[in-house]
């Protein structure tokens, strides 16, 4: 009894597996049907909670930035606030405007939320059983599926029969299409090191090389992050829902639960981008020394700890999202397009060329004299300590080259250096006039 209880604690996975086998299910059925279903339900549950509590965190973080307390009433420190909000939204009237295109209006939120959630099927939360499925074109799958989300925004904007929603939908389509490009291009740099599109493979490549690709690819990481924020329509790129101009943008006419689906989709998309960024640039679930648990025989603990590490890294990037949102003003539509096409896409292209060049240099240096830079090429690009140093150096140089090139290209544009283009205000000490007099009987002022 005590042993089985202990094994339940330490290896819940094996326990459940054994239980199912004992219930008379075949091995195949357990492995390819029941088990994935359990994984999916856990991921959906966890992600939904994560999304709900991301709103809580955002409200708390913004509150602390703004010298106030945030939600404090529902539960201790307002911890039950997201649940209360969810219940409130569920019970609200399901309102569809009279002249709206009913079915499109009806389905658009579902498209948004499905597109955002489906990506989690390939995200490696941890090693072994913490992945629902590992597709060998994982990264392409992520980009393809998450760009379906834009469809929901366009449809919502179009079907609402509202000008604000239409403008929001138009903005979002232009924005997401442009930033998708730079986002995809930025990923290529990292892929040159990982040499695989499988998300688990990318993490494994970083684990075997004992490095985070952030250090090889600082430029790529920045480009990816900026494009990701823009693609998620988050501040400072939250133009489709710019509340001060477009009221609420594409979801102006939405209310109640349908509105909350859009909200969930937005937060889930943020989690997706942070998950991809974590996987590709921050080493995914990999953290130094954690694999000692595995060699020590605590396999399931190792998986759990790794999953926690993954979530923590994601949380750091999510915090960055909140931080930016509550600090920066919003871009204008044309400026947003400028940044996408004149800054990020050239930067991503340069990054590809330069990363290719650096990989070539490191490979060419291998075996030059007594220099050894490459350890193995079997699982990603594994570099020796010297190779790593060279690559890190090249990464930093790449950052400067990208920055320099962009300044050269955009140096003559109006927005480049606004501060130095203008004259400043001046202070004058005017002479004091005669004190105001009472009557102006003879000169009656004209009506304005």
């Amino acid at each position: 009894m005590s042993i089985s209880f202990f094994s339940l604690l330490l290896s819940p996975v094996n326990f459940i597996g054994d239980l199912l086998l004992k219930l008379g299910l075949s091995h195949d059925a357990v492995n390819s049907v029941v088990w994935p279903l359990i994984q999916i339900s856990i991921v959906v549950l966890v992600v939904t909670l994560w999304v709900a509590y991301a709103t809580y965190l955002e409200r708390k973080i913004s509150a602390f930035m703004q010298a106030r307390l945030g939600p404090m009433r529902v539960g201790p420190w307002g911890l039950l606030q997201p649940i209360a909000d969810g219940l409130k939204l569920l019970t609200k009237e399901d309102f569809i405007p009279e002249d709206a295109d009913r079915w499109i209006f009806f389905f658009a939120p579902y498209i948004a939320v499905v597109a955002a959630f489906i990506v989690f099927s390939v995200v490696p939360f941890g090693p072994d059983w913490a992945v629902i499925t590992d597709v060998n074109i994982g990264l392409l799958f992520v980009i393809a599926v998450s760009s379906v989300g834009v469809l929901a925004l366009i449809l919502a904007g179009w079907s609402s029969n509202s000008k604000y929603a239409l403008l929001g939908g138009l903005r979002s389509s232009a924005q997401m299409v442009s930033y998708e490009v730079s986002m995809g291009l930025a990923l290529i740099g990292g892929l040159m090191f990982a040499r695989t599109l499988s998300l688990s493979g990318i993490v494994a490549a970083q684990a075997s090389d004992a490095v985070w690709y952030l250090v090889y690819q600082p430029a790529g990481f920045l480009i990816f992050l900026i494009s990701g924020i823009a693609e998620n329509n988050r501040a400072p790129f939250d133009l489709p829902e710019a509340e001060s101009e477009l009221v609420a943008g594409f979801h102006t006419e939405y209310s109640g639960f349908r509105w909350s689906l859009f909200f969930m989709a937005e937060y889930a998309a943020m989690v997706v981008v942070s998950a991809v960024a974590t996987t590709l640039y921050l080493g995914g679930w990999y953290f130094p020394f954690v694999h000692k648990l595995e060699t020590g025989g605590f396999h399931n603990l190792y998986v759990l700890v790794s999953a926690l590490i993954f979530v923590t890294k994601m949380a750091v990037i999510l915090y960055l999202y909140f931080w930016l949102r509550w600090t920066l003003p919003r871009f204008r539509y044309d400026q947003l397009m400028d940044i996408g096409w004149k800054w990020l896409i050239p930067a991503a292209l340069i990054n590809i060329v330069f990363t290719g060049f650096s990989v070539f240099v490191v490979q060419a240096l291998d075996g030059w004299g007594s220099l050894r830079t490459i350890e193995s090429m079997s699982q990603g690009l594994n570099l020796t300590a010297t190779g790593k140093l060279i690559m890190i150096g090249l990464g930093i140089i790449g950052l400067f080259i990208t920055g320099g090139f962009l300044s050269l290209v955009n140096g003559r544009s109006r927005d480049f250096n606004l501060k130095s283009q203008r004259r400043n205000i001046r202070l004058v000490n005017l002479p004091s006039g005669t004190p105001a007099v009472a009557s102006t009987k003879e000169t009656a002022p004209t009506e304005a």
């Binding site: 001060s244 003003p329 000490n429 105001a436 304005a448």
Partner: protein, 377 residues
């Protein structure tokens, strides 16, 4: 006002690339109940028209049926952000018409409190302007600072927003006991806080690209339209009623007038920030020099100004608040007309907006710093 042509039939709507967007009166960024009708080509504004009057309360007509001291509380509700300044223009007009000898302590207290009100009003402008451009945190920070001023107002006047601050002839009561200490504390804390707010915006690339070159209005146009206040000074016109026709205790104060060079939104932003610093200087001087003595003049039982036309104006936070008074010698004014700075500043909106994008309209409404209570009266 200029009329926007609205395509009404289906054919004209489909044929033209233009769209008419109705912004307001229920819109998050029109600062109340302003309705702006925009004609857009894509997102570019090609024409616009303002529809006002949703907050019309008939203040000027009401004033004709009230005795002179009874009108003052109505004036506080013109520009409810700057009730103290609005109240001042009415009582000063009547005082000057009556030739009352207002004691110097009252003048100094009026100077301190109207300047505090100017800071409060500018802080609220900063908060909403930054919010319109998307910097949400500045809103809460600026309101926190404004709160300090409102606390002083609450202790002095008993109200935070619609302070009935003045009586004809002076103040209803002397400053409360800790008044000087409170004001001094505010004065010493304020510059540091303002610098902090400025670091969030003034050097921010996004803020610069959203405000530089947006809503430019030349000095000639600004004068032609009749702009006043920071909107006029942002275009580089040196006109400040506090300097040109000093009232209250401004003749004794040493302060500078900030002038913009480019007449754009960023200049008006800098001008207002600098005005807050100058206001702080004025408050500092006024508190240091605050004389002792009574705070109210001796008043006749019934206030009956001599018959005639009178005009008096002060420099409100939004611009020149004027009061045109026609008296027939009775206890009621025959006609009162307010020169509302927000209404006149709003006339520049069309000229400033055409050719810009929808997002800029919001920024320009913000930079004009309008209050609908005063526009509609």
């Amino acid at each position: 006002m200029h009329q926007v042509e609205i395509a009404t039939t289906k054919e004209t709507l489909l044929d033209s690339p233009e769209m008419v967007l109705n912004m307001g009166p229920q819109h998050p960024s029109t600062h109340g109940v302003l309705r702006v009708i925009l004609r857009l080509d894509g997102e570019t504004v090609i024409d616009l028209d303002c529809d006002i009057g949703y907050l019309h309360r008939g203040m000027e007509k009401i004033a004709e049926n009230r005795q002179y001291p009874m009108i003052a509380p109505y004036w506080d509700r013109l520009d409810y952000i700057a009730a103290v300044s609005n109240g001042l223009v009415w009582v000063e007009t009547v005082e000057q018409v009556m030739g009352l000898d207002v004691p110097p302590r009252a003048h100094y207290l009026r100077t301190i409190l109207t300047e505090l009100n100017r800071i409060a009003s500018h802080l609220l402008w900063l908060a909403t302007h930054a919010l319109d451009i998307g910097a949400v945190t500045v809103l809460l920070w600026a309101l926190r600072e404004r709160e300090e001023i409102l606390k002083i107002f609450e202790r002095q006047f008993g109200a935070r927003l619609t302070c009935h601050a003045w009586r004809i002839g002076g103040l209803p009561n002397d400053a409360y006991d800790d008044f000087e200490a409170d004001v001094r504390r505010f004065v010493s804390n304020f510059p540091r806080r303002l610098d902090e707010y400025e670091t969030v915006l003034s050097e921010n690339r996004i803020w610069l690209s959203r405000t530089v070159g947006i809503g430019v209005i030349s000095a000639q146009d600004a004068i032609a339209i009749g702009l006043s206040g920071p909107a006029l000074r942002g275009s580089g016109v040196a006109w400040d009623v506090r300097k040109a026709r000093p009232y209250a205790a401004y003749a004794d104060m040493d302060f500078d007038v900030p002038l913009g060079e480019n007449g754009d939104t960023f200049d008006r932003y800098l001008v207002r920030l600098e005005e807050m610093r100058q206001s702080r200087r004025i408050i500092q001087q006024a508190v240091d020099k605050l004389p002792e003595g009574p705070v109210s003049a001796k008043l006749p039982k019934v206030i009956k100004p001599p018959a005639g036309d009178y005009y008096h104006s002060i420099e409100g936070p939004k611009g020149e608040i004027g009061c045109y008074l026609v008296s027939d010698g009775s206890a009621h004014p025959y006609r009162v007309r307010v020169r509302p700075p927000s209404l006149i500043n709003l006339q520049a909106l069309r000229q400033m907006c055409i050719g810009h994008l929808v997002a800029d309209v919001v920024a320009i409404i913000g930079t004009l710093d309008i209050v609908l209570g005063e526009i509609d009266r």
